[in-house]
């Protein structure tokens, strides 16, 4: 078996769309189960009251990362036809900072806002309106700072390549970092005693 299946011509167009839809259903389902349809749950992270955002995100990252790099190591996943987010350091750091600020203010991120809308959160509707408006503004003004968005371009750069170690070393470091951060988070949660249960 060679992955990704779609790149090796394993899906017809219709199957590809169905697969995408089902993956979306899984994504939305687990986001909702985690409580990410609630802006109060999501933003409690920033007040050190509930570390669910950190825990869910990093659990997902390390689980997927271990699987992903194992498949690569076994020669079953072809990196040359897999999308790897290209690195544009300047716009990613600038965008990340603005996105973080927007997160604290708006209470959702684009993915979780879909779940929030689907579970009846009226503020999420306004949030989605804001996102669309923000995309509108960016898309119209992009030609003005097109050069800025290309600064720090490094192509498909990997953390492990940059550090000069094997991918597994970074995966292991990420897992250990996650475990450490989770226990610290749980310890802080216990002291504030404010985890949102439902």
């Amino acid at each position: 078996m060679r992955f990704p299946i779609e790149a090796f011509g394993g899906f017809s167009a219709g199957t590809g769309m169905l697969v995408a839809l089902l993956i979306g259903v899984g994504f939305g389902f687990f986001l909702e189960r985690a409580g990410f349809g609630s802006a109060r749950k999501l933003t409690a992270q920033f007040y050190l009251k509930d570390f669910a955002v950190l825990k869910v995100m990093f659990t997902a990252i390390v689980v997927a990362s271990v699987g992903f790099w194992w498949l690569v190591a076994l020669g079953m996943l072809d990196l040359s036809v897999t999308f790897i987010n290209p690195t544009y350091l300047v716009s990613q750091i600038a965008g990340g900072l603005i996105l973080g600020i927007g997160f604290a203010i708006g209470g959702y991120c684009p993915g979780t806002s879909c779940v929030a809308v689907a579970t009846g959160k009226l503020d999420a509707l306004w949030y989605v309106g804001g996102v669309v408006f923000g995309i509108f503004v960016y898309s119209l003004t992009e030609p003005l700072f097109d050069g800025f968005t290309k600064l720090g371009s490094m192509g498909e750069a990997y953390v492990w390549d940059w550090l000069g170690v094997a991918p597994g070393v970074v995966v292991l470091a990420a897992v250990l970092m996650a475990v450490g951060a989770f226990s610290l988070g749980t310890w802080v949660e216990r002291r504030s005693g404010n985890v949102l249960k439902n």
Binding site: F8, W69, V72, L79, F83, N85, S153, G168, V169, A174
Partner: protein, 204 residues
């Protein structure tokens, strides 16, 4: 949170798997081709080739780690070549001296007159684990689609941008008027024209 041992077990499993992975060293970027029939599957899926438009985009974007290897004989290369391409004639490329110039870390675009020679090189190099792609239609298609602007693109994302940048390439290829490459032969390909689909566009 009552069953506290379950997350701990999960963490232990993850640490174990990540630890073994850490000992395994650097990965190959490409999945090895294990059976003969897989070659056919890869060609059918279009993984062996890239369109001139995609290559022009790669050149313009200055994609890190990308090299354009022209496998035609020196005298043809001297008459016309793609911008930023380098010449390693086919017989040289198949020898040790030629192979040692390639890297398993970057991607190579293989160029010949019409794509035939480059396709042969692709089989050999891909089998050895080098990431490489045939310039679909070779230098002829480059002249036809990029320099003369007859692009029929299967990858719409690029068409507009490249159209605007054609002049940049025309500047580079100013010499072609004097020594035009042989006119493109009608392509008798049995495989669907297409070429490697550009990787899926980004998430989010």
């Amino acid at each position: 949170m009552k069953s506290n041992w379950l997350p701990k077990l999960g963490a232990a499993v993850l640490i174990l798997f990540a630890g073994v992975l850490a000992l395994m060293g650097n990965p190959t970027y490409l999945t090895p081709v294990q059976s003969v029939s897989e070659w056919g599957d890869m060609v059918t899926a279009g993984m062996d080739r890239v369109s001139p438009l995609t290559v022009s985009e790669w050149i313009v974007e200055d994609v890190p780690g990308m090299r354009i290897i022209d496998v035609r004989p020196q005298e043809l290369f001297a008459r016309f070549a793609l911008p930023e391409s380098e010449n390693i004639p086919f017989d040289q490329l198949m020898g040790k001296a030629g192979l040692s110039q390639l890297s398993k870390h970057g991607k190579h675009v293989l160029v010949c007159k019409d794509g035939v020679r480059a396709s042969q090189a692709w089989v050999v190099l891909r089998g050895m684990g080098y990431e490489c792609y045939v310039l679909d239609g070779g230098a002829n298609a480059w002249v036809d689609q990029i320099l003369e602007g007859n692009a029929v693109d299967e990858n719409p994302d690029l068409a507009l941008k490249v159209h605007a940048l054609r002049e940049e390439f025309l500047g580079d290829g100013a010499a072609i008027g004097s020594a035009p490459p042989p006119p493109p032969a009608p392509a008798p390909v049995s495989i669907p024209a297409g070429g490697m689909k550009k990787k899926k566009s980004g998430g989010c």
